[in-house]
Subunit: 741 residues, 2 copies
């Protein structure tokens, strides 16, 4: 209650001084178009549950219809036909997954076909922890909020017959299978099978458990099941072949691929019903406990208040002043998007499923999941280390739990499965970066062993395929892999650089030397002819003929993953000096880097080249290019509109780029505690550093030139002039004020 | 232990005196061909669980393959390709249902495709409570036995990799959906969806729960799932589309239409594993409790001993002497088949699912299920009333529970669903017959109200469709129904006769008169032109043109269900005198009845005409025809071979016909406590009457003419000459000896 009062006071204070709280700036509709793949539904900070409007099924939603194309989000802003609200969802990912446990309120007779019961909607509102719309077909107002593990909905029905459908057949992906059981007139429980992210590893499909509670006892209830259409000889006797069966009053489990349950009411006057759906990846009992512990004695409005308060506490760790209202919205929404994934896997009692076997284990801290590390190793974890070091520490601990449970660090972990999506070996990069930043309350010896294992084990290594060639030749060849031999070499280089950095810190000199050497082997792939990287064949010859532009627009190619030579050549953040030399010195380097932009080869929508704009800082006198470039990219790609993220948010990576860039900082080399500096978007930025990790002082970044296009002419730290356009993490977190003019 | 000693002594006694125990005569392979649809797997008396070899899947089993035609049994004797052992099965029914929870032992690598892991088999042995064969492909000896609620298997594996597969996708019908979970290295639990008997009422599909325990901890275990093949745009990315996924070591629920689990062993020498599968229709906990209470401390051999002892106690209620060994086998196997259905629905703790909603209720006595009443009202329940009155009493009580739970008496009840298969309103006939035989420890007032309800409620009456025409016109017309207007009228007549009989007994004179009158309304359908019954149209005119033979061989027709005018005209057991008058007196009656046989219109394989051979007894001097006919039909249709039942056993109805007929008795009019007499097949038949209901004396039927073809020349009861060829139930159960010479 004290907390709730705090936010009330805070809000009153804000109103009195005509200043909005950070939480009020967030617009969760940003990223819901242009394949940003975020969703506008309420979610708690790093929540397991989320109530997302689901509008990607049915021909009315073409061309952005889930079954007609690759679509990885339950909600697309321009779509109009809503078929429910899904209760477990991913945000900002590029592969379809989750998007299940769909609830839908309707009126009149029970209809279980989502193509028929779906509706257009109006009056859409999306705020932090809150979503609302009105279903045109039924005149039902829907409101939703969430706690960490519970999605909470409030349906305001007109008088008459009202229904709440729980559809367990419908979902974002092709994975199917569920059970459902009406426990009482106020409770439904069930299980839904999910898994096979990116259509990889379907053998790791797994169950998600839920318990739904309703604030009013249903007058009637039931379940339904739509069987597969049977093609055999007996189909002639099956009048019901392939047709849905509705089973009124049924109280036992129903099992199948396309099933659901409903609650039904007869209202004499307009009435609202609140529904709470508790989620667990461990068991039904835990789903019920999550629901009870987090929400049982609370109304919708109380839960909403708590959610907004929690978000405000996190968001207000960074306060911004000056800048436009639009910029503040873009900034806080981006910060919001970095606080969704990695998300919580464990139940309130600490239970979580072990990797692969899904035995139940217990954790003390939060066990995080959804580690899209190929994306997030570049900047998101660096943002966490700076602003939310406690979370970052738990994320590293979670990675080490994953290592203990599966024998390997994560690459793209999702709900205790390893999807092995994308390439490289990014976990160690994050661990090193975290450790070097002074966040050390984890078992670094174990982490180091884990990193060495994936770096050195040649056979049966799920993290580093092609490692044999990499070690022996220094690079993967066009024979080693048919996709991304150069990219993968670069990723392994960066990972090896991180091992070297950690080895050095730990006094492991021979490892340091070995991995330092390994980390620059990409140089073998530098081709003077193009002044770019180029794939080599097994015999050492160059891939010929060679068009360095092939690979743009995600076109599959031999050398590069989701990119081409332009987008990858500068992705050697740990060896920019070396790259300069290969290119013939600073001038040709700057020229070639500028070429990327001028030749329209820069891709803001994908990770390999997102640090490029900051690389001009490495050449004295060229830093103005970084400032112009970053400012221009922010203006062009990050907007207060549904298409306000350049592409997939990649579990917050694009958003982290915006947060850092708008603060005038960027972690330009992922395993080095160093930030490149550029012009901030705000006159004043206050980062409230964490008490436990950084002694809790305030770091204030101010700028007199935020509003203009003039290049930076001076930087000072705590009043003393700063040389160059980089600052170490240590210096940053010990500083009280940084002035960028 | 005392019981086990009893049977040991009994068996020793039998051996010493060179006499086999009744249980030793039973050949469960009888009825497993010729569409008898019994199965040779072990089952306890009225057991819920049963371990049936399953050999009806796969092209090797064509033409008797489950998906290529209507097939209602998990096992067909002439088939050769076995794909497992199903743990819940129906016996002797005409519609596919159950036949799920399939276990299969294999060796070598895990293969989850039953078409590939299936095998031929040798050394098949089937005895009461025991089945065994050897799987040719794997050299695995399989043995099986059962308690009431647990199927028990013993697999003798060769050295090497051994697997036990639990396939929850495969089943006899098209109903799908299951969950499965490996609980530990010695336990698997799960749920399978079943239902939609005869492809009726799929909305009443329901779960069956199981817990499987293994005598040895598995070295490895896992689950599998075969998803539906996806046809949408995304299928192009799904390399695994429609393919089975094997998930090793997985310990959470797997849900879907086509799933399974396996235990896997590495044996250094030949080793056997015992598997016990406990079943419940209520819950997993109850399945586990059933398993533990019935089998936990017992070995396979102990369970087998118990099963055989229990069966012997039941079978030896009737002892037969004289006659051939073949006749004894036919007799005891038929008696065995009458003790399978109705079967047990409640768990050991008394829990059972309520009709329709499947809420859990508790019963004190046994709650029976599988009431195929259109079949069994004719003779099976009469056999139970005579030999097993305690069971019959519980069956009536179960019918009244069904009435309380659903509002209606059963018609074709199956595991707490009402399939409404076939026509008529047979429950009341059985209740009246039971009551009139002195078995009265049930609530007859409630029963009477239930009978009146289905007889009088015109709207929304699931038991008596067409009741309005029946009451107003006296019959259903070709407009009332497009199938069986005459048959249904006859069935309602018999049901109304039963109400009249009960009304009379209870002193309800006006009801007695009303229903007595209603019971003979079939007379309106008697057409002098053919001297047979004939359908009438809505305006009262005869159906024209009319071929009284149409409807033979189950051909669908307007007048008759599964039969024609010949097979139905004499099915007025309560009004044979009336029918004689309609036909012009005894002589034309006998002539027309003889015509049925002479014109090859008699069908031994279906119920409507099965009492016909006994109807000659109604005409003095013609009784020899009954004797010849019954004897001839027994010889022709009932054999000690897989095709030794004339057609579907109809949950023991055909077998009950054989049991009665071989004893020289037949309950010729289902709601009248009366038996027609004919020549017994044995020299001496001893019925040990139930202590509680019949004071426990022995009834001995002896015959000096059992072995010859001479007609009966004298019948005496307790030494006194008996007039005519009928005996009342009262006289029968008070008699000590009946001599038929």
């Amino acid at each position: 209650m004290q907390n709730r009062l705090t936010i009330v006071f805070f809000l009153i204070f804000s109103i009195c001084f005509a200043q909005k709280a950070p939480v009020e700036y967030v617009n969760p509709l940003i990223g819901t178009s242009n394949f940003g793949t975020t969703n506008p539904g309420p979610i708690a900070v790093r929540g397991m549950a989320n109530v997302s409007p689901f509008n990607v099924a049915g021909p009315q939603n073409l061309p952005l219809e889930k079954d007609s194309r690759w679509l990885s989000t339950p909600y697309v802003h321009e779509n109009t036909f809503l078929t429910g609200f899904s209760h477990v969802n991913l945000s900002g990912v590029g592969c379809p997954e989750l998007g299940v446990i769909l609830a839908m309120p309707t009126i009149g007779e029970i209809n279980t076909d989502h193509l028929e019961y779906g509706s257009t909607y109006s009056d859409e509102k999306s705020k932090v922890g809150y979503y609302s719309n009105t279903l045109d077909k039924y005149k039902i107002k829907v409101e939703a909020t969430a706690t960490t593990r519970v999605g909470v909905s409030k349906y305001s029905f007109p008088a008459g017959d009202a229904n709440i459908l729980l559809n367990l057949g419908l979902g974002l992906t092709n994975e199917q299978g569920a059970t459902v059981k009406v426990v009482s007139a106020t409770e439904i429980e069930g299980v839904r099978s999910v898994g096979s992210f990116c259509y990889y590893k379907p053998e790791e499909a797994y169950p998600v458990y839920f318990v739904a509670r309703f604030s009013r006892p249903a007058d009637e209830f039931g379940v339904w099941k739509k069987p597969t259409k049977y093609m055999g000889a007996e189909s002639q006797w099956m009048g019901y072949n392939g047709k849905t069966r509705v089973m009124e009053g049924f109280t036992k489990e129903v099992v199948g691929d396309s099933i659901g349950a409903y609650m039904r009411y007869k209202f004499e006057s307009p009435t609202h019903v609140e529904m709470k759906i508790g989620i667990s990846y461990v068991s039904l009992d835990n789903a019920r406990e999550n629901l009870e512990k987090e929400t049982s004695d609370k109304t919708f409005d109380e839960i909403l208040g708590d959610a907004q308060e929690e978000w405000n506490q996190y968001l207000s760790r960074i306060e911004v002043e000056g800048g436009t209202e639009e910029d503040k919205t873009i900034f806080y929404t981006a910060l919001y998007h970095t606080l969704i994934h990695p998300s919580t896997l464990n139940d309130v009692n600490g239970d979580y499923p072990k990797m692969k076997t899904r035995e139940t284990l217990k954790t003390k801290g939060t066990r995080y999941t959804v580690f899209s590390l190929w994306d997030t190793y570049r900047n998101l974890h660096q943002l966490m280390s700076l602003v939310y070091p406690k979370q970052q520490s738990n994320m590293v601990k979670s990675m080490l739990q994953i290592y203990e449970e599966s024998g390997w660090l994560p690459k793209w972990e999702l709900n205790a499965t390893e999807t092995t999506t994308m390439v490289g070996d990014p976990a160690g990069i994050i661990i090193t970066d975290t450790y070097l930043k002074g966040i050390r309350d984890f078992d670094v010896e174990k982490a180091y062993q884990a990193m060495l294992k994936s770096a050195d084990q040649i056979e049966d290594n799920p993290l580093r395929p092609g490692l044999k060639d990499y070690i022996h030749k220094g690079y993967l060849t066009t024979k080693t892999t048919n996709s991304g031999s150069v990219s993968t070499t670069q990723e392994y280089n960066i990972a090896d650089y991180a091992i070297a950095q950690l080895a050095k810190e730990m006094g492991e000199q021979s490892d340091y030397k070995r991995f330092r050497k390994r980390s620059i082997s990409y140089r073998h792939l530098f081709d003077k002819e193009f002044n770019l990287l180029r794939p080599r064949n097994d015999d050492g010859s160059w891939l010929t003929p060679y068009n360095p532009e092939s690979g743009a627009n995600f076109e599959k190619n031999l050398g590069f993953i989701e990119g081409n030579a332009w987008q990858y050549t500068f992705m050697v953040p740990h060896d920019i000096e070396g790259l300069m030399k290969l290119m013939g010195g600073p001038k040709p380097f700057v020229q070639r880097l500028q070429d990327v932009f001028d030749k329209n080869q820069f891709d803001m929508a994908n990770e390999p080249d997102i640090a490029y704009p900051y690389l001009f800082n490495y050449v004295q006198g060229e830093e103005y290019r970084t400032q112009e470039m970053v400012s221009g990219l922010l203006d062009k790609h990050f907007k207060n509109s549904p298409d306000g993220i350049p592409g997939n948010d990649d579990t917050g990576t694009m958003s982290a780029w915006a947060v850092f860039s708008m603060m005038g900082l960027y972690p330009v080399n992922p395993a080095e505690p160093l930030y490149a500096l550029t012009k901030p978007k705000f006159d004043k930025i206050t980062i409230h550093l964490d008490l436990e990790y950084y002694r809790g002082h305030k770091l204030v970044i101010t700028s007199n030139s935020a509003g203009n296009k003039r290049p930076i002419h001076s930087i000072s730290v705590d009043g003393k002039p700063q040389m160059g356009y980089f600052i170490t993490h240590k210096k940053l977190v010990h500083a009280s004020s940084i002035q960028i003019d």
